[in-house]
């Protein structure tokens, strides 16, 4: 089939501190193809977030190979990585992480400030993204004036506004009630199916995993063999 958009080989991440040493990821080999909805499950502390951070180049691996969108992340400078992430990765956090003093629209527009788009174009793109998540009528609201579900949808709009190839979501429904979680999952599923975005989602929720094209489990930093949960 196609070449994978995310591929790791013997990927290791250790956290070495003065008084402890943690092997967060141990020789991870994964291969995620374009258009996949890849779900990572596993107990807390098993290294799920760490893996997402490495894929997003928010952190550097200790050892091993990691290629994302054909790019050898270890070879990129910090400066190049920032730009690369802005262009190719949309990241969704469990705790939304919107900027509290900016309106929904301004939050969504924020990543576009790093592009060459004009003010008007940025504004239109941001509004389009907000429309897609069904919040165009909340464009002027500050995060504090939105519900958790709405905040997460704004965060999704922000993650997709630069039209990235990959969306990484770290427990995106973890702070939401069932209904809001459902909305967020449907949205991600739609981004995957209609817009062809590759999605890697960390979740604890078996129901959330049901949207996935592939589910893998991490335990104590090791990736378990592919299970039968894959639909």
């Amino acid at each position: 089939m196609n070449t994978p958009v995310i591929a790791t080989r013997k990927l290791v991440k250790e956290f070495v501190r003065a008084n402890f040493h943690i092997l967060a990821l141990h020789e991870i080999d994964i291969s995620i193809e374009a258009g996949a909805f890849f779900t990572l499950m596993g107990p807390s502390g098993s290294g799920k977030s760490t893996l997402l951070h490495l894929i997003a180049a928010m952190d550097r691996p200790t050892r091993g190979e990691i290629r994302v969108l054909g790019e050898d992340l270890r070879a990129l400078s910090n400066r190049a990585i920032a730009q690369w992430r802005n262009r190719h990765i949309g990241f969704i956090f469990q705790s939304f992480n919107l900027i509290p003093v900016l309106s929904a629209l301004e939050n969504v527009e924020l990543p576009l400030k790093l592009t060459d788009l004009s003010h008007r174009e940025r504004w239109e793109h941001a509004l389009t993204a907000l429309e897609l998540v069904g919040l165009a009528d909340h464009a002027d609201h500050l995060p504090g004036q939105l519900s958790g579900g709405q905040e997460q949808r704004v965060a999704i709009a922000r993650a997709i506004v630069t039209d990235p190839d990959i969306i990484l979501a770290d427990e995106p429904t973890g702070n939401l009630d069932a209904e809001a979680a459902q909305e967020v999952l449907m949205l991600l599923s739609r981004l995957n199916r209609e817009f062809g975005k590759t999605i890697v989602m960390v979740t604890h929720d078996p129901h959330a995993a049901s949207y996935a094209t592939e589910v893998r489990h991490l335990e104590k930093g090791e990736l378990k063999a592919a299970s039968s949960e894959t639909p």
């Binding site: 928010m58 920032a82 992430r85 262009r87 003093v101 003010h119």
Partner: protein, 388 residues
Amino acid sequence: MVRYASLIAANALRNRRRSALTVASIAISLCLLAVLGAAYLALFGEPEASPAEALRLMTHHKVSITQPMPVSFEARIRQIPGVADAMVWQWFGGTYKDARDPRNFFARFAVEPARLFGIRSELRIPAGHRARFQQERTGCIAGRKLAARFAWKPGDRVTLLGDIFPVTLELTIAGIYDDPNNDEILYFNYEYLRELLKAEDAGPDQVGVFIVQVKSLDAVIPVADAIDKEFENSTAPTETVTERAWQLSFLSFLGNLKLFLSSICGALGFTVLLVCANTISMAVRERIREVGIMKTLGFRPGTLVALTIAESTCLALAGGAIGLGLAEILCVMVQSSGTAYAALNLRITAEVALASCAAAVALGVGSSALPAWQASRMNILDALRHTG
């Protein structure tokens, strides 16, 4: 940076009360700084020494200016290479009219009318007045401001009662002169003083100060040294200084004031810098998590630093603008107060305004650069985990 204007504004107004307090403290400090700066300029911002002034030296007794020197020194000074001319410059204390009224105080110097206008070439005087001064032994000339104070005109009589010297001068105004540097001096003929003293049998001819004109600028220092060397082993060793240094030595209390003013300005500037730095670090610390978010979105550390610096500079400039406005109001109030301070002519000049703006910018940058840089250097994940 323009595209970040709304973000900078949103951040600056994030904690309105804190921002308002910061702006207010900057405004008050910069208002004080501007007023002190205006006072400093009013007191010390005089023009540089004029070319004529730069060529003049004052020779006095090494021990103190109250110790006299033989008048014969004058001829010896004139012999020294590089000296263009030299003349007696004798302070005559005395009193005019009622000494209890300070308005009656002014400087009176015994000089040599034939040399005065060559040595103090900046003096402007009608030819007739000058001729009369040089011919009449009891003639004197008064600066325009001084003459205006007493409504003197040529032909008026001025009587000065001596105190240092046991004589009474009966002078006649021979003319009025203009001098851009000092037109509140009365000059009279040293010969006249000498005759009166001779009549009193007041001892040998002695003089307090000689004023020396040097031929060229580069000869000023060597000539000063040569004069002092000439009299090194005489009965009256001398000390020769430039006219400017001479004048400043009388203003030594102003010298202290200068130091005082600059220390206050420095302390004030430093204090407000600390206050701002504290506020900004607090603001930055509260936003470390957002640094992580922005970095995740692809913002580079340099941009984040610039955003923080821009924010604090905006606050500082706002404070600076308000402070300058307050300072201007204060100055106008002082000027129109009718008190003695009005004489200072306090003004917020373009110079002061510019310096204040520069101080505000320095404050904005200085207070935020370090905290901004530290925050921007944080690892994304550490920043995101930060709870504050």
